[in-house]
Each structure stands twice: as C-alpha cells, then as structure tokens.
Amino acid sequence: MDFDGKSRVSSAITGIKPSGIRKFFDILNEMKDVVALTVGQPDFVTPWHIRDAGIRSLEEGLTYYTSNNGLIEFREEIAAYQKRRFGLEYDAKTEIIVTVGGSEAIDIAIRALTDPGDEVIIPEPCFVCYDPIARLAGGVPVKIALKPEDGFRLTPESLKAALTPRTKLLVLPFPNNPTGSVMRKADLEAIAEVLRGTDVCILSDEIYAELTYGEKHVSVASIPGMRERTIVVNGFSKAYAMTGWRLGYTLAPEYFTKQMAKVHQYAIMCAPTTSQYAAVEALRAGDGDIEYMKGEYEGRRRLIVSELKRIGIDVFMPEGAFYVFADLRKFGMDDETFCRRLLDEKHCAIVPGSAFGENGRGFARLSYAYSPVHIRKAVNRIEEFIQTL
C-alpha cells in the first residue's frame, strides 16, 4: 500500500481555509508594473538608532536565548512605555510576555482562554487571524458585523445580542485593520457596561494604538472592571516600523500570563534576542520616531480620502491605522470582481474587503503606507478604471 500523506494530516487543519488575502497577493506577485496599495506595513525603514542597537548586540555577542518571557530590562521598558503613553500599569515580572510579533501574542491569548465549544466573539471586518486561531483551539467563532453607519465601531446592542452562556472571549481589534475605525472612551465604556456582571474575557489587539489621528488611543483595560478580564496585545511592527523583527507582547493579569507563558515557552522558547535589544532602544529613545511617522501617515490619510472622494468613491474617514475602507457597492459588482478587474485592466492593486470576513463584502482596503506620489498614481488608475464602467 502506498503511503497517502494527504489523508494523514489533521482534519482540524485541513478544515481551515488559507487566508483569502493570500490568494489575491499570489496573483499580484506574479504581475509586473503593478501600482499597489495593498501592503499592511510601514514604508519606513526601522529608524537607524534602533537598527544600530540590534547590530551592536550582535557585535557584543548577545546571541543567547533570553528568559522565556523576554529580557527583564526590556519588559521593564515596556511597562514604563505603556504607563507613559496609555496610562496602563503592568508588572514587568509577572504580567508581561514578549512574543514573536503581535500574531503570537494573539495565538497564546486565545489558546490560554479557549476550551472546546467556547464561543469567541469576533467583530468583522478585521484582521484575518482570530477566526482560524479560535478554531484551532476548539473554539466557536461568533461574528458581529461592524457597520459603516456605526463608523465600524462595535455597539453595545450588537454585543449584547451575540452573548450566550458559552461566550468566553470578546476580541476587540481596534484601531481596526482594515476599516481604520477606533473605539473612543465612551464607546468602550458602553461595551464595559454590557460585560460587567458577565464572566466574558477580552482580547484587545492594540497593535495600531500609536496610530490614531483624532483622540489618543484608549485601552479597554483602563476602563473600570475591565483590566482583570483583559489580555492586551501590542507590538513594535506598526509604531516603530519593525515588522521584520517579529516582536510583540501581552499585558495581562498574572493568572492569564502564567497560562499563556506555558504555550509560549513550549512552542517558541523566547522571542529573537537581537530584536529585543533593538526594541529596548526603540522604547528608550523612539517616541520621536513614532510622532514623525504618525505625522506623515496623517497627511497621506487626508490625501487619499480627498482623492477618493474626488473620483466619486465613498469612504469612511479612518481615525486609526493606515488604511481606508472604500465603499464599492454602487459599482454593480462584488468587491472581488472589482479588485480583480482593476488589477487585470489597470494594473492597480487594492485588497477586496471580503478578505477580512464576510462582513467586509462590497468594500476594499487601501493602504496609505505609501508616498503621496504613489498614492496619487494609484488613485488615477482607479479613476481610469471607474470611467470604463
């Protein structure tokens, strides 16, 4: 009998679809001369003083594992940073784990909390990873549609309607990829009001916390009664332009942190040492870098919104991250067709909203982590395309 590898893989894995965004990128990567607004990462190189700190650590031979949860001086800097920027207080020794990007942080958080059959509430559209990670943990994803008329914010009514006795975890992915929506303090207080008196936990993915253009980001963990049930996820990719360094972290009470630490130590051991030394420098001397990059994004955000409006595309004014979510529903085709045709006919790439969940259907995500000249060029191609319809 021949060995049949295909039949030997886990059905838990085969039941999970590859990321929809991936499929689109595979086509895109095959094409030349594409003007893309697809990339979900900064167009800045990591500031030199941060790269230099990483290089220096290599020169000094700091190439060992760190402690599982990360260098203690690094965790202390993270604690100081969170207090300085967002008023959150976490103990460096017992409440912080340094992870391989925000992605690992999300993974260990969901795994540490989810028992088979537990419901995980996921507001959509959102980043693609929560649903499959919840499924892998045996959880049952429950989607809440974020609506344009609500500014793509989570409303207390829709949350209340989604709660059941089996609800274990609410994912709060704000500032939001792909819509650019944020939850203000009052919005979070309304959500907290629904959760008080329940035993529902929160995973607050705050990877874009530094990139808000109106009010400063507020963490749900700062709302009374929420800290004890919340795991905050953050990282260095977006704020410091450090995507390739793969560095994130969790902030959570000790009883959560202890359990997450087990997943982390068995699966990962520790986050890359070089990255940790570089990020210590980022936290000590990088606040100015954040402000500079944010100022650049803010200008581009205004530019892309005004350009899209000029060519007759309705957009929701994003208040965070570096994406705009464009409404394509009036063009008489679904978002995948629109994006595919735009790519084929005008060699311009944007990401169909349905890649971020069913509730993103009819929209497209445009990243403005590009130079103003590039943004203008892309919008001109979209304009040419629309004129042919």
Binding site: L28, T38, V39, Q41, R302, L303, P372, V373
Partner: protein, 158 residues
Amino acid sequence: MKERILAYLEKDARMPHSDIATMLGITEEEVDRIVAECEAEGIIKAYRTVVDWTRTGKNRVAALIELKTIPQRDRGFTAVAERICNFPEVASVTLMSGGFDLAITVEGDSMRDVAMFVAEKLATIEGVTATATHFELQKYKEHGVIYGAETTDKRGNE
C-alpha cells in the same frame, strides 16, 4: 504650519500645493500664501533637482577646498566670501569653525580644471593665505538622498 509646509517642499519641491493643503488640512490658498511669503522673505532659496551626474556618463569633478584667510577689520570673512561666491565654478561657500576658515565646493569638467581654478583664481585672492584641495571620489548621500539606495518596494505582502 510654515515649518510643515517647508518640510514637505524640502523633501519634494514638485509636490502640488493642493496636495500639501489636503495633507495639512488647510486651504490651497493658504499654502500658496505661505509659500509666497517664504519666497519673498528668502526662506525658500530655490527649487532644484538632485542629479547623480555619474549616471549620465558625463564627467564631472567636484572638490572641497579648505581656505585660510586673514579676516578684515570690520568685515571679517565676508569680503573674501562674497568675492568667491561670484565665481560660477563655486557651488557653495561656508564659514567654518576649526582649523580653517572657509569651506568651498567647486565643480569642473576635469581635475586639472579644478586645480587650475584653485591655483589661479582662489589662491590669488587678497587675504587668502592657504588652500587645501580635496577631490570628491564617490558621492554617497546628498540633500538627504542616498545615491546608491534601492528604489524598489521590497516589502512583502503580509
């Protein structure tokens, strides 16, 4: 606001005022007005193009020249500096602290041209006591632009 407009224009002199206005959330007229003011006040000196001539195949030689001079009563280094500014071969003239007085950059078609210019025109100016000529061999960065830098977008789609 003025500083932010200048920062955009310093990076890209061709950026349309309408884009700058949108990005800063002000009107185009306001940008026009502030830019005109900056031009009138001499804050904006010129709009120029950063050219890497070595890529055109054209031979161009540039040199940094250290100049020692005797400062004049009342006018200091200004008289000599102003005199040197008049030569079209001279690209920049800067008064320096340290071991010499004026740093001059000179451009020409050949090393001989530049050397002769220094010997015949600069060294002979009254008040100039010494010159030292350093030829540029390779330009790595100019006006904030890295010359050899990769311009393609290497970011992976995540």
